[in-house]
Symmetry: C2
Subunit: 328 residues, 2 copies
């Protein structure tokens, strides 16, 4: 599916909107909203990082066969980023590709994970190593799912919102500075605006560079170190990315004379996200980092800031990262 | 990769033609031509139908990681259809897709399997069930590999050549009628022409309908029943397709008053391929057939002939196929 044909809608979830659908549903979401999916063909997936494996892919395919899924079927992910990532991958390879769409139920999936067509699973310690870039046909956002969203998931979502602001949108950055988590969770109309804004930021970048040959790399701000920390220390994606952004902000100051690393850290702290990790296993993290997909020979593409709202990609070698990591 | 950018070359194989390459090599080819690949990064795959599994995919990915394959790497399949199918799939999902190309070493792969971008592996009894449609960057054909091709593999190749003739090219059909296997194996210049002709037939169909919404379905002539027989009775692809074509020719006579079913069978027989299978387990074959990807609800897309060189797709239900199968 071409990203130009992607349809994004803000509508209440109703199973009757979906024909020939098989729903791939996060286990927690299914427990909370079973009534909404009554009578539907549902495959239940644990929405945990460890579910992102070829074993889960195999299990889902076996269930799809039991449901007699064929080329006219549509897979509909109902859940967070783990579920949309796996669903997009399964739909891309089942019978050489069937239609799929997303109903993101977490803030992070609404503003980031569900958008852009990257899908896939981990391969051992290699994060998002097996996958495709393939766009969904639709993304249907029902804000009412956020009523049951745990606090940590709100924070995870704001980690990506802060990322978008840092790399692409100074106005959004200033708005975030003025408020905090409680403000946005209590003001659904403002939150809706923020979600739409973030979708547009991400879509704008992706549409110009679907295959990540250039500007799309900027969306990895905070993610290069973040993924490594997430893999080694099994902390949430939002926390890991927050720490990764603080590290990248420091590196940005060293390399590009970026002048606001402390301010970025303060913003991250205000959204109840960590700015450092005390017992960081630097050796393990560095090893995982050198396994990153964004590696080119022995150099790593690192996304840094030149100003608030402006990012640049820089190739760094292992030694440079090691030194910065020891200072961090 | 867009099929319009595919480059097809008839050149002698030389490892020095490939930069950043990791070769995925058929075990038999590797044994015969080890010298040609000396010093190269090679992953060895058994070129058997049972290798087409997610387990093999996982094994290859693990070896690619050991070789430090990254986004600048190119996977080069050296082997028959099994190896090109698996390689195309692995390259399509490794790090969300890396460059790949084919060096087909069997006649069947040269005229058919390597062309068109369909890749994938089996899932249990479901043939080619997991895969993508993704075009290679290049197909490099070195006819010298055919010197060591076993007789059965020549026959397998001619099964697909006969298929192309039946659905698309009466002139080719008449040429095949005039000669036999021995003639072509002893006349490399004529063989080269035949290979080029068949590549053009397949490319012509695929270019008009990459995603198999219409005319590309015709290439499945003989394959719907063929795949089921291949899965149940573990016979070679060529033999299974040959029997499938004879069945489809009979059905064509019944449904479209096709007037040459016996002639088609005679041609198949002349190329030392079977026209029937004596101990066919019809019940099992029918069950597998109803699991086919080309199924739509409970109807199967069956490719039939109206004339030599002209195919049509017909939707048939289980009962119709069952009756025809019992007559066959």
């Amino acid at each position: 599916m071409n990203i130009k044909n992607l349809s994004i809608n803000f509508i209440g979830f109703s199973k009757s909107n979906y024909d020939n659908a098989i729903f791939i549903v996060d286990a927690t979401v299914f427990d909370l909203y079973a009534a909404r999916l009554q009578g539907c063909k549902c495959v239940i997936v644990q929405g945990k990082e460890r579910s992102k494996s070829l074993a889960t892919v195999k299990k889902i395919i076996a269930e799809l066969i039991t449901f007699k899924a064929d080329r006219k079927s549509t897979l509909v992910a109902v859940g967070g980023g783990v579920v949309t990532d796996i669903t997009g991958y399964v739909a891309s390879v089942y019978m050489r590709g069937i239609t799929f769409g997303f109903v993101p139920t977490t803030l992070l999936a609404m503003v980031d994970a569900a958008i852009g067509g990257k899908n896939g699973v981990n391969f051992g310690l290699h994060k998002n190593f097996i996958g495709t870039i393939n766009q969904p046909s639709f993304i249907n956002i029902d804000m009412s799912f956020l009523k049951t969203l745990p606090l940590q998931e709100w924070k995870n979502g704001f980690a990506e919102i802060i990322k978008h602001a840092c790399i692409k949108d100074e106005k959004l950055y200033n708005l975030l500075k003025k408020h905090d988590l409680t403000y946005f969770t209590n003001n659904p109309q403002v939150l809706l605006k923020i979600i739409k804004k973030n979708i547009n930021i991400k879509l704008g970048v992706v549409k110009k560079d679907v295959l990540e040959n250039g500007e799309r790399k900027h969306l990895n701000f905070g993610h290069t170190l973040g993924h490594a920390i997430e893999t080694v220390h099994k902390i949430s994606h939002g926390k890991a990315v927050a720490i990764g952004m603080c590290f990248a902000a420091e590196l940005s100051a060293q390399i590009f004379q970026f002048d606001s690393p402390l301010e970025v850290k303060e913003l991250i702290h205000n959204y109840e996200l960590p700015t450092r990790f005390n017992s960081l296993n630097k050796e393990k993290v560095l090893n995982i980092l050198m396994m990153d997909k964004k590696k080119e020979n022995e150099l790593i593409h690192f996304v840094l800031l030149t100003n608030i709202g402006k990012a640049e990609t820089q190739l760094l070698d292992k030694k440079q990262i090691e030194i910065a990591l020891h200072k961090f």
